[in-house]
Structures are given as structure tokens and as C-alpha cells.
């Protein structure tokens, strides 16, 4: 119980950090912390395999990708002055209501836990073999679809990011025509800021 409390505090603190920290890099790091704490939580739930995957894929691969993009684009903190200022309190209220409701449902529909040895033998540390069996039998179609999705994602990412050949870049040329002083994606600082100002602030 103490362990759970510590983990819960870490997780919530990390979540609040993700949501509130102004600098994207800080937020991303908070999320990495959250994900690692989550991996530990998985262990307490006898899902060792998932905990490992969580660390490797999420905290490792995905978050690295995030940080890479954040740093590539050199995204700064958000400027003050939200056009949708009313959204902030409203969001908190809605979130509180939703959380209370979900917790209420969880408590109402609570069921007793099975005995500890049943859990241990059944899940067996979330052994990879058992999960694979489920995936390749009951969820074969979903598994295949995910494969297709990943392939599509790869192709889409390449297609989106690939730069067109110089003579077929009307967008950029028109930007240049408007007198943009820099190659737009290099010298950019705060989001939404005018190019020159952002460039000055960012570096």
C-alpha cells in the first residue's frame, strides 16, 4: 500500500507536470518520468512483460522521438494570452466531474480480488509467451491491422516530412516572396511568434 501511494504521488506529480510545465522539453521529461513510474506500477500488477515494453518502447523510442522533434523545431514555451481563456477553468471543472464519476463507477462495480497465488500463477509475470498466444489467436486480426497501421504510419511520416524537389515548392516560394528573412523551419523560436522575434528569442 505504501508502495502504491508513492507510485501514485509520482504519477500524479508527473501528470501535473506534463500538463502545466511551460517548456515542452520539461513537459516531455515529466512525461518520461511518469511513464517510468507507470512501468513500475505495471510490475506491482504482475505485468512484467508490459513493464519492460513500456520502458523500451514508450520511455525509450517514442519519447526520444518527441524530444527529437521538440528540439528539431526548437519549440519554445507558449505565449501568454490565451484566445480561449474560458477553456482553462471549464476544462478543470469538467475533468473533476469526469474523474469523480469514473472513480464512482469503479467503486460501485468493485469486485473482490482473486487470491494472490491465483494471480501469480495465472499471469506468471505477464509472460511473453502467453501474451503472444492471445495475440496470435484471439486478436490475430487486430494484430495484423496494427501491422498495416504501422506500415502506413511509416509511409505517411516519410511522405509528410520529405521535401519536394526545388521547382515544385510553391508554398515556400510564396513565403520567400513575402519577404521571410530565413528558411522558415530553421530559425524559429516561440510558437505563433513573428518569425524574426521568435528567431531572436529562441537562440
Amino acid at each position: 500500500m505504501v508502495g502504491f501511494a508513492v507510485l501514485a504521488v509520482l504519477l500524479v506529480a508527473g501528470g501535473v507536470g506534463v500538463v502545466t510545465l511551460r517548456q515542452p522539453v520539461h513537459a516531455a521529461l515529466a512525461l518520461v518520468g511518469t511513464l517510468l513510474a507507470l512501468a513500475v506500477t505495471y510490475v506491482t500488477l504482475q505485468a512484467h512483460f508490459l513493464a519492460a515494453v513500456q520502458v523500451i518502447v514508450y520511455a525509450g523510442a517514442i519519447m526520444v522521438l518527441f524530444l527529437f522533434v521538440i528540439m528539431l523545431l526548437n519549440v519554445g514555451g507558449e505565449r501568454l494570452g490565451d484566445r480561449l481563456a474560458w477553456l482553462r477553468p471549464a476544462a478543470w471543472v469538467a475533468a473533476a466531474v469526469a474523474a469523480v464519476a469514473v472513480v464512482a463507477v469503479a467503486v460501485i462495480s468493485a469486485r473482490p480480488l482473486p487470491a494472490a497465488d491465483v494471480v501469480t500463477t495465472t499471469l506468471a509475470g505477464g509472460n511473453a509467451g502467453s501474451i503472444a498466444e492471445v495475440l496470435f489467436t484471439d486478436y490475430l486480426l487486430a494484430f495484423q491491422l496494427v501491422g498495416v497501421l504501422l506500415l502506413t504510419g511509416v509511409v505517411a511520416a516519410v511522405g509528410l516530412v520529405q521535401r519536394a524537389a526545388p521547382e515544385t515548392r510553391p508554398q515556400e516560394r510564396s513565403l520567400a516572396g513575402r519577404g521571410a528573412p530565413h528558411e522558415p523551419y530553421l530559425g524559429v523560436g516561440g510558437e505563433g511568434a513573428p518569425v524574426s522575434e521568435a528567431a531572436g528569442g529562441g537562440r
Binding site: 505485468a47 496494427v146 518569425v195 521568435a198
Partner: protein, 106 residues
């Protein structure tokens, strides 16, 4: 062992935190981070319930964990495409503020 409700409650808190993040942050990057938080909150609930159902045998209990696995894969694909879009938009717009991406306005 800690009861399932605690995990689910923790999961709910993380989920709505992520939701608040989606709603209040204006940078597309931050939106993505918040969405990741929400996905993980959901995963936590599924893993917790997998344990709660383990009396029904491995086949049933591991359903939840398998689902988490698939969510992981989908999240990976989503991040790949999402960040690709982000880069493309940023290239044209010099901004990742979603409030400025309001061409879908009626």
C-alpha cells in the same frame, strides 16, 4: 495486494489530467504529450483489470495486457504520423499553435 479501485481511480486522475492538458495547452506538441498521458492512463486501467480477472484463467486475464500491447503499437504509429504532420505544418506555418489552425471554421 492493493484493490483494483485504487488503480482505476489513479488511472482516472491521470486520464483527466491528460484531458485538461489537451484542452488547455495550445502547442500541438503539448497536445501530443497530453494524449500520450491519456493513453497510458487507459493502459493502467486495463492492466489493473487484467489482474482483477485473473481468476478466469490466462486466456481471459491476458486479454487486457494484449490490448495494452496493441495500444502501444497504435501509439507508436500515431506519434510517427502526428509528429510528421507537425513538422509539415511547422514548415509552412512557422507555428504549432493549434488555435491558428482554424481553417475548419464554418
Amino acid at each position: 495486494m492493493v484493490a483494483t479501485e485504487y488503480y482505476v481511480a489513479l488511472s482516472a486522475v491521470l486520464f483527466v489530467l491528460g484531458g485538461v492538458g489537451v484542452l488547455t495547452r495550445r502547442s500541438a506538441i503539448m497536445l501530443f504529450l497530453s494524449v500520450e498521458l491519456m493513453l497510458n492512463a487507459a493502459n493502467l486501467a486495463m492492466v489493473a483489470y487484467a489482474r482483477a480477472w485473473s481468476a478466469g484463467g490466462a486466456r481471459i486475464a491476458l486479454d487486457g495486457q494484449a490490448a495494452v500491447f496493441i495500444v502501444l503499437a497504435v501509439a507508436a504509429a500515431e506519434v510517427a504520423v502526428g509528429l510528421g504532420i507537425l513538422v509539415a505544418i511547422f514548415r509552412n506555418r512557422v507555428s504549432t499553435n493549434v488555435d491558428e489552425l482554424s481553417e475548419v471554421r464554418a
